[in-house]
Symmetry: C2
């Protein structure tokens, strides 16, 4: 046996090993959830993924059925002191105010301009829709995308002092990656305008624009200088919270997810619907318990109240990711 033969055998063995075991290694995932402590929550996630990806196993789900939905604000990123989309709307209303003098005395604009969040919240769903419609319309779809990206390039979460694009919760990014590498299709669900998140969801979360499910600003087909385009109108098709979420998910993707991740009472029905499907499922609630690294709030929060959801999660045996107990890192290092 000469040395060349050994080389070749080693080469072939290595190739065979990679070909056979690489999918398993990738799907194993214990090594990718670095920011999760080894505890019952992480183990439950790993067990679920192993169950639905083990071919020939009792709970195997073919890739086309591996649908995972993630709520956005509070689940994938902090929603305090205000959700990112509201921060954008507040800045945009301020920028537009000089050409809308009536806004100084008219709600919800008055409270938005004075940054009185409590009074703004009191204007309710109708007020928030009116605010979003004004902030997100009056331009083409392409112009809106540019406006959003320009704002994101400068805006920062005031408490975390980070660009919003670097506020994603690291353990959740790892979870998104792990699920995708295990053959899942991952979706983001938000109550706000999907058109606001879509331009940057892929870069930050690895989720392409058409896998972002949310409310819609209506558009109108127009022709400008002979070129057809879509203009965003100040009209809003609201995705309702609660029972509206399963309906919106069904409308967008036509299937019941097998994994759902939420953090507030608005996500309850989405979690219930997912948990009631056939076979294995995973319903997980992110519980904000860490005021030092992130924020601590639940039953009495203005944004992202988690009250019934906490009781229901405990009652139904859903998984709870307690940030303090289950996570050891919260964010990536900031980069320029």
């Amino acid at each position: 046996m000469n040395s060349r033969m050994i080389d070749r055998r080693q080469l072939m063995t290595a190739a065979l090993f990679l070909a056979v075991f690489f999918p398993c290694l990738r799907a194993h995932g214990a090594d990718t959830l670095h920011s999760w402590n080894n505890g019952p929550t992480k183990i439950a996630v790993l067990q679920f993924v192993r169950d639905v990806t083990t071919e020939g196993g009792q709970y195997f789900v073919p890739p086309r059925g591996r649908i995972a939905v993630f709520s956005h604000d509070g689940t994938l990123c902090p929603e305090q002191p205000v959700p990112v989309e509201l921060a954008f709307a507040l800045d945009r209303i301020k920028a537009l105010a000089s050409t809308h003098p009536r806004w100084n005395t008219k709600e919800p604009f008055k409270s938005a301009l004075s940054r009185n969040l409590k009074a703004l919240a009191a204007t309710g769903t109708r007020g928030m829709m009116e605010l979003t419609a004004a902030a997100h319309s009056g331009m083409t779809t392409e112009e809106f995308e540019t406006t959003v990206m320009n704002w994101l390039a400068k805006a920062r979460n005031p408490k975390l002092n980070r660009p919003y694009t670097q506020c994603a919760l690291l353990p959740m990014l790892e979870l998104l990656d792990f699920l995708r590498s295990s053959g899942f299709k991952t979706y983001i669900v938000l109550r706000g305008d999907a058109g606001f998140l879509r331009p940057w969801a892929e870069k930050v979360y690895g989720v392409p624009p058409d896998q972002v499910i949310g409310s819609s600003v209506r558009t109108k087909f127009e022709s400008r200088r002979g070129a057809p385009l879509l203009v965003r109108r100040p009209e809003f098709d609201l995705m309702e919270d609660g029972a509206g979420r399963p309906a919106a998910i069904y409308r967008a993707i036509g299937r019941r997810p097998i994994a759902a991740f939420g953090n507030s009472d608005a996500d309850l029905e989405m979690l219930q619907w997912t948990a009631a499907g056939e076979g294995r499922h995973l319903a997980l609630v992110v519980h904000h318990t860490n005021g030092g690294n992130e924020f601590a709030y639940d039953r009495k929060a203005m944004f992202g109240r988690l009250d019934k959801g906490l009781d229901m999660a405990r009652k139904n045996g859903w998984r709870i990711a307690d940030m303090t107990k289950d996570w050891n890192r919260f964010f990536t290092k900031t980069t320029k």
Copy 2:
């Protein structure tokens, strides 16, 4: 140099060749469009794909921007003598009629039951929506899926004498495959209920459920014997034809396609919007000119009228797939 060394060199060379050139070979595609005659239409398709996939080229589009939308009825499959979804609705209304005695005298049900298509068409959009709402509701989303699949297992296109699942136009299937193998994400757009096509779009067209864009039957979140589920309501959110198509596509995927395929005046604005985007684009109209192999109709058709669209395609230099000139095969062999 001994023979083992040659073996090894050959092995490495072959591996290198595959690694470097395999993506190009796959993307070349001239060999996959077997049912397309070598003529200006096929050449234009190949040229477009080459332009947007050539890295470093002037017209290169990264994979995330390679969005192709296909109208369904008449573009991917025949829509004569009636579109598949209408065939389903007619059968279903008939099956339900015994428990709805009023339908015998009430439009649009009366015309549906007597199969008077002209009178049915005269009930307009409102009539068709009412018909669909009645035929597609009153059950859970999972039950509806089963109902559709059971119907498809038996129903046949009466003129072609084929199961509807084997009525897909072969040249269009080749085109879908070719685009996907060139990094495109392919979507189907239909005016009807997306929930009707989604259960079988993947098997027939290779398009997953969430890449089917259409109208929606509204659903309601309910709990039955403790299990949350969605019940389809007799209410219909219509995706309008014409200018409604670009808006519906934007709503669903948040982007402007770079390739669009249609066959009727209902697709006009979708084609215009696509053709007006930046960079290279492909707007193609399927023209039904072959009454022997499929159907021949255009300016005066009841379903799938192509009148303005034909003029506009010629005026704007869009591509026209003339079935007789451009195609040499129409369907796959039928299988059990």
